[in-house]
């Protein structure tokens, strides 16, 4: 997508954050708010925009993988690589939509959907044994052998009434995680 240098929001909505030194207008804020289904307040969106501009060092309108990795707290997170796949080349509107799963105003269903999407790396709507094993590998690293990982996962799946060949869909995730007190909230600092 070609990004013109100016951010004239009346005709070109926020796809055009090419020039990150441009100001966010009221129209832009409202549009982003619509897009993320009011997950964030207008002030939070302004804060997120400042943060987006801070991370987008080269001012290209997207945050590149390397730019995310300059945040050491993010780079040391075991799930950073999986998240980077989802975060790749997001413009500001998509960035806010991505983070909306972490807003307290958003229903549990949306958070579970986010977790499902993270597991489902090939985006086919199904989470397989291997997808779950991959995530477990990211979280445990070299401190547990592949065999032990498979053992635990198989055992836990069987306990829950599934098998190693089961393919879980979103409704399964909702059933499993829906009753838990899932806490997935991030506070956006507002001046």
């Amino acid at each position: 997508m070609i990004r013109p240098a100016q951010s004239l929001s009346l005709t070109h909505p926020l796809a055009i954050m090419g020039n990150t030194s441009s100001m966010l207008t009221q129209y832009d804020i409202e549009e982003v708010q619509e897009h993320c289904k009011h997950a964030f307040s207008q002030q939070e969106i302004v804060s997120l925009y400042q943060r987006f501009c801070q991370l987008d060092r080269n001012g290209g309108g997207f945050i590149l993988t390397d730019e995310f990795l300059t945040v050491p707290e993010f780079a040391v997170n075991p799930l950073s690589q999986r998240l980077l796949r989802m975060l790749n080349s997001l413009n500001f509107k998509e960035f806010v939509a991505f983070l909306s799963a972490f807003s307290p105003r958003v229903p549990l269903q949306q958070k579970i959907e986010f977790i499902f999407k993270l597991y489902d790396s090939d985006n086919n709507g199904k989470v397989t044994f291997h997808d779950m094993l991959d995530v477990l590998r990211d979280l445990t690293g070299q401190f547990i052998s592949e065999q032990q990982r498979e053992q635990v996962l198989t055992r836990v799946l069987e306990e829950a009434g599934y098998t190693k060949d089961s393919m879980l869909v979103l409704s399964d995730f909702v059933k499993i995680l829906g009753s838990s007190d899932l806490k997935m909230e991030v506070e956006v600092p507002v001046d």
Binding site: M23, L48, P72, F143, R149, K183
Partner: protein, 376 residues
């Protein structure tokens, strides 16, 4: 027209810092262990394994705000010129600063340079044989040019504590905000500082003038450089009539609101460590040099067109027989200068964090999983 778009410069008061990531224990594991209940219903364990929300929350929290990036952000002062009475006053101030103060300061600086060069060059060339006298004069001349620099920013420096003296086996450490830290301290006493070698006119000054006060250069990008520099440092502190050594253990410029981790090199030289805390007053000028955003020339221009540079320099001496010295000295400096501490290494600006942080988190989660396996 909506005025809400002035948003980025809304009133900024102390914003609570983001909770720093616990680097000692994986919070992902801790909260998972709390969630883990031995459940008679099969779904319980599966839910605990599948629930990656704590780790995800940490990652998202880091994306939204993190303590490391905050250290290198210029925090703008409160936006005060927002109404019809103050705005013209501010404009008048801008005119005064740029059209009256700036030329006067450039003049002062030019005079200073003329005096300095006309004395330094003859001293350097003519007194080749008389090293002690030459060194003494060069020291005084460098102190003089630093005084001129500080005058060119209308600098007001308040010194507290014992003045540094020339003695062997002592090293001074200070927090780092900008290259002007060196100039401000040099005005007090001629230090030999260890600096990153810079390109351009700064590099030229480094190799000619600063060489005479005994400065040591290093190159961050060279791996072997560390041992060479460590040896040079050790040799320097042994010398009886070398200028006192000044080291900035943070290794990079920080925005004078936080301190990053201190590198151990300065504390392993086997000599007395004297901390110096430098705190700039932001009302008059923001002295933080964001080397990624501004060249040093622009930074100096910015200072020369500000009202003044006001800072406090606090010196204090301690004995070096205390274990864990670098953290303790950092605590002392942070408390005295009112800076918050951040558990990151300043060099993460240039490189990725080491995998050991991630491995710590992975290890604790793995232990939880193994315990789960053994329980069956």
């Amino acid at each position: 027209m909506s005025w809400t778009c002035i948003a980025p410069t809304l009133k900024i008061t102390t914003r609570p810092d983001p909770p720093s990531t616990s680097l000692t224990a994986s919070s992902a594991c801790n909260s998972s262990s709390l969630h883990f209940r031995r459940s008679r219903f099969g779904l319980g364990a599966f839910r605990d394994l599948l629930d990656i929300s704590p780790t995800l929350t940490e990652a998202a929290g880091a994306i939204v705000d993190d303590s490391f990036t905050r250290c290198f952000k210029s925090i703008p002062p409160e936006f005060w010129n927002w109404n019809i009475y103050l705005f013209p006053l501010w404009c008048f101030g801008v005119l005064v600063r740029h059209l009256i103060l700036f030329p006067a300061r450039v003049l002062i600086l030019t005079i200073g340079w003329i005096i300095f060069l006309s004395s330094f060059i003859p001293v350097h060339l003519l007194l080749k044989g008389h090293d002690t006298l030459r060194r003494k004069l060069e020291r005084l001349l460098v102190e003089l040019i630093c005084c001129f620099f500080v005058a060119s920013w209308s600098g007001v420096v308040n010194y507290h504590g014992p003045r540094p003296s020339i003695r062997p086996k002592q090293v001074y450490v200070a927090n780092h905000t900008s290259m002007i830290d060196f100039i401000v301290l040099q005005q007090m006493t001629a230090f030999a500082v260890i600096m990153q070698k810079h390109p351009g006119w700064v590099g030229f000054l480094q190799s000619t003038i600063l060489e005479s006060v005994g400065c040591i250069w290093f190159n961050r990008t060279e791996a072997k450089d560390r041992e060479i520099v460590a040896r040079k440092l050790r040799d320097h502190v042994q010398g009886a009539d070398n200028n006192p050594l000044l080291i900035f253990p943070e290794g990079t410029c920080v925005n004078n609101h936080y301190t990053v981790m201190f590198k151990k090199g300065a504390f392993e030289l086997g000599c007395m460590v004297c901390p110096i805390a430098i705190k700039y007053n932001k009302i008059f000028a923001d002295a933080f040099w964001n080397s990624r955003k501004q060249s040093f020339t622009m930074h100096l221009l910015q200072l020369t067109t500000s009202w003044a540079v006001v800072c406090d320099v606090i010196c204090f001496c301690i004995d070096n027989l205390i274990y864990g010295l670098s953290t303790w000295v950092r605590d002392m400096i942070s408390i005295r200068a009112g800076l918050k501490k951040v558990p990151w290494d300043g060099y993460l600006k240039y490189s990725c964090p080491s995998p050991k942080h991630r491995e710590r988190k992975q290890r604790s989660f793995a232990e939880w999983v193994l315990r789960r396996l053994e329980e069956k």
